[in-house]
């Protein structure tokens, strides 16, 4: 790979484009998370999440599946959920389905790669998110 001025400039412009695209989203998410942190009591999260690992991972996976956006947003929300006492298993499932299950992209994926392919891939990604979440927590507890 040749490191010319043009290549550096091109990479710089591309990064600037990503930066200007992501920054308003990040600032918006930070503002929203800050507001929720102050306005919503921690007990609320305990009501949404049951405390039963398998059910919580399912709830987390559903929330992640219906959400969309930059992965950074899911990290911030996941971090805050963890901070509010939501289990790691639920947060991991949430992070995973946020990036691997695409309900919003499903029509595009179906029309280009096939309906059967898109549905099978998304269902398997959903189930594997729960399995991975369980495995992550087990492995971390063993370390």
């Amino acid at each position: 790979m040749k490191l010319s001025y043009q290549n550096v400039r091109k990479a710089g412009l591309k990064t600037r484009r990503s930066f200007t695209k992501v920054i308003p989203i990040l600032l918006g998410v930070f503002l929203l998370v800050s507001l929720l942190k102050v306005a919503v009591p921690k007990e609320f999260y305990a009501k949404v999440f049951s405390g039963i690992p398998l059910i919580d991972s399912f709830i987390g996976a559903v929330l992640g599946s219906i959400s969309a956006g930059h992965p950074l947003t899911s990290y911030i929300i996941g971090g805050e959920l963890l901070d509010h006492g939501v289990s790691l298993i639920a947060v991991t499932a949430f992070l995973l389905t946020w990036v691997t299950v695409g309900i919003i992209q499903l029509p595009a994926e179906s029309s280009i790669l096939g309906k059967k392919f898109a549905i099978a891939r998304n269902i398997i990604s959903f189930v594997s998110a729960i399995v991975i979440a369980i495995l992550v927590v087990i492995i971390i507890s063993l370390i």
Binding site: M1, L3, N7, V8, A11, K14, T15, S18, F19, K21, V22, I23, P24, I25, L26, L27, G28, F30, L31, L32, V33, S34, L35, K37, V38, A39, P71, L72, Y75, I76, G78, G79, L82, L88, T92, L95, L96, V99, T100, G102, Q105, A108, E109, I112, L113, G114, K116, F117, A120, R121, I124, S125, S128, V131, I132, L135, V136, I139, I140, I143
Partner: protein, 170 residues
């Protein structure tokens, strides 16, 4: 995207403006809530800023050294172990929105790329190398490593499963 006078307003800006409206609404209902949340906001921003700078430096490096054409060149060309490796690494280093890759993958499938490799590629796109510092910041180093390794392993398992389901003789 919303268009005003033929100029497209990015979704990110619209989202940001909506949040500002929410803040303005709360400013009239409960001003103390807003001042408290601004404190939390600035605290969060100060903590995140160094990680964010690092993330964009990594993004710059990736934009400089990895070109989509390089990924496209090798994708769908290999079989067996090398095929898996190319799909996994290709997925990890590929950039841009996921739907931009669908037409290319559909084209490669016609040329012989298996569904299993397509699934592996799409699954590994979820691993964002430049964003890993953020994951480490929020969830720790061990979590990040374990999650990343498991995601790579499951991309292969999922690939096999989807391939079996899709190509099952009815």
């Amino acid at each position: 995207m919303i268009k005003i006078k033929n100029k497209e307003i990015p979704n990110g800006i619209i989202f940001f403006l909506l949040v500002i409206f929410v803040y303005l609404g709360f400013l009239f209902i409960n001003p103390s809530l807003i001042s408290e949340s601004f404190e939390v906001f600035f605290d969060l921003l100060i903590k995140i800023a160094p990680v964010l700078i690092f993330v964009f430096a990594l993004m710059f490096g990736f934009n400089l050294f990895i070109k989509p054409k390089t990924v496209q060149k090798y994708l769908g060309q290999e079989r067996g172990f090398t095929g898996w490796l190319v799909s996994i690494v290709g997925g990890i280093i590929s950039m841009g929105a996921i739907y931009m890759w669908y037409p290319l993958l559909a084209d490669l499938r016609k040329k012989g790329m298996s569904d299993a490799f397509i699934v592996a590629f799409l699954y590994n796109r979820s691993i964002k190398l430049p964003l890993l510092p953020f994951l480490v910041y929020y969830f720790g180093f061990n979590f990040t490593v374990i999650l990343t390794v498991l995601m790579i392993l499951f991309s292969i398992i999922n690939g096999f499963l989807v391939d079996k389901i899709i190509n099952k003789k009815s």
